[in-house]
Symmetry: C2
Subunit: 344 residues, 2 copies
């Protein structure tokens, strides 16, 4: 079969890889119908050291079950299924607590011999725990929005929960990428009163406004902090979503949090330490978040997608086929595209 | 009047200072009857640069109201009152949210011309918001425990709330100082199932056990982390109280948190950044806490002290008078005393 392999910074190839096959009795084989390129894939696209063997890519996909192992009970061949950002058994102590990314028997796509999502087929371990059956056909018009439930929409939702978004709250969202835009959707859905997008890209700002952003701050650094303070009576904001992971964006997020507020961080941290800890301490600001347990949120968010109340699929502003994946990486890296959908 | 003044590391003096007097109509004058030396006072005792003018000290005291300003309504001369770690108006937006340490019109003792608690008298700004009347006489046997409500017991409680302590939780408490010991009391009071004290001082360990600690870890660094992992089925703990503020204790606290767990930090951070942010991120660990809004907790904790359900006053293992304060600092610095009570 064909799949996406990264060999180093800027070097993404689509090539032949071994066909997937069932290994464990709890496996399912999924023929991928749609996948996505994630903002997180752009980090190695900029930084990966050259590798001779390469790195399979992709962790967001929807597909059709092609075969199941002997112990699989909940999905069957022909089902249209969505896979979350990590695979998980659904039964361990962490899965039961809703933290599927820490599943005792789970793991990440495209590592440890598991296929990535940006390819024609994926062996899905712990299929009963991992996969969620979709009640629509493979080419339903809702597919882009459904695909976001595999990661990016769940990540925005996770940031909003970590930041304790709720009715009446003022919610700055740091970052106008696909995660930040989904964070706007999540904040609106959780009834934030005011949503301030910190971003500068005109098309993304326009989309954020349609998603519910009430204010836009396009300045950066200290100026951005000052602008948010002006917008919040000088106090800062209750709930801040950090959707980038850079040092500067993290400092901004912590700085605009109100005393007693919370920062939900989902941007992959690019530094080992959390900056401005002392100021954060004196303000009693809570820092929470991490990789989103997207699996935990699919059932909650799915009805809103199916009934059209949220349209996170609008973050996809480019569609390509598998051959177009390398150019999709380039386009996202150059901020030419917000997020790229891959159709098979 | 006489009061404690620090002139540099190791240089604490008791000397004459100007008598207190009413300045604002919202002030009260309090004649101090009992005060305490705080672990936080030991930081400048080790690090303060020499100062010609000196620094007044103390932020934990109980006393008798000697006079009130024209606008004071809730306290009157003769009342026995407790003062929390910060003064606050009790009416601003942050006070109403229970974060009195961020009061818009409040501040800290022993700074900006306000007296410290380790002296004969204190001008208390915003007296109606700051002071709580105690329903006991000035020399009641409960005075040591009541005095802890001014800061140290409230701080242990704050750490426990920030760490989301609750029934069934396993709660490591990092640090066997007075705050850590009060953290043990707070964790027990909030019905933690298991309380692991990380400390090595025999007398403090004995007291921690009486307060409710079920396990003791006396190792440090990686060995301490390993021991807590062993005690928690390899997972780490739900709720961790960081009651020291050192880099090593913070790393330990973050390392022993279970995925999805929370670290409540109340130890004054000795570093500007929070370490191990990446590991903390991947585990979805929440970091919360800061200076305790002790004022917010007095009403909640007071009945437990008055009815003898908690005895935080046992952290005082030395009593002195004002003249003995310099030696009290020395004794706490050398870990000869857990916490020193000053009687006037």
């Amino acid at each position: 079969m064909r799949a996406t392999v990264m060999y180093g910074a800027g070097d993404v190839r689509v090539e032949n890889v071994p066909d997937t096959r069932l290994v464990e009795p709890t496996d399912a084989l999924v023929r991928v119908t749609r996948a996505a390129i994630c903002g997180g894939d752009i980090w190695p696209y900029n930084q990966m050291q050259p590798s001779e063997t390469g790195q399979r890519m992709g962790h967001e996909f929807i597909g059709i079950v092609a075969a199941i192992g002997a112990d699989v009970r909940t999905v069957k061949a022909g089902d249209v299924v969505i896979a979350p950002d990590a695979w998980s058994d659904g039964t361990c102590v962490f899965c039961r607590e809703g933290l599927h990314t820490s599943c005792l028997h789970g793991g990440w796509w495209a590592s440890d011999g598991i296929d990535g999502g940006q390819g024609e087929g994926v062996r899905v371990p712990e299929a009963d725990g991992t996969l969620v059956i979709l009640p629509v056909g493979r080419d339903d018009a809702l597919m882009p929005s459904l695909l976001t439930l595999s990661d990016v929409m769940g990540t925005g939702h996770h940031a909003a929960l970590a930041a304790e978004v709720g009715p009446g709250k003022t919610v700055p969202v740091v970052g106008d990428g696909a995660v930040g835009l989904c964070g706007v959707i999540a904040a609106k859905r959780l009834r934030a009163e005011r949503i301030i997008l910190l971003g500068s890209h005109p098309a993304r700002i326009a989309l954020a406004k349609e998603f519910g952003a009430t204010d836009i701050v396009s300045e950066r650094g200290d100026e951005a902090v000052e602008r948010v303070r002006e917008l919040t009576s000088g106090f800062g904001a209750h709930s801040v979503l950090e959707c980038v992971g850079h040092e500067q964006s993290t400092v901004t997020a912590l700085s605009i949090a109100r005393p007693g507020g919370a920062v939900g961080r989902v941007g992959l941290p690019q530094r080992e330490s959390i900056p401005t800890a002392l100021a954060t301490f004196f303000k009693n600001v809570t820092v929470s978040g991490g990789p989103a347990p997207a699996r935990a949120y699919i059932e909650e968010l799915l009805p809103d997608v199916l009934e059209g109340r949220i349209q996170p699929g609008r973050v996809f502003d480019r569609v390509t086929n598998l051959d177009g994946v390398p150019d999709g990486y380039r386009a996202m890296n150059e901020r030419e595209a917000i997020k790229v959908l891959i159709e098979f």
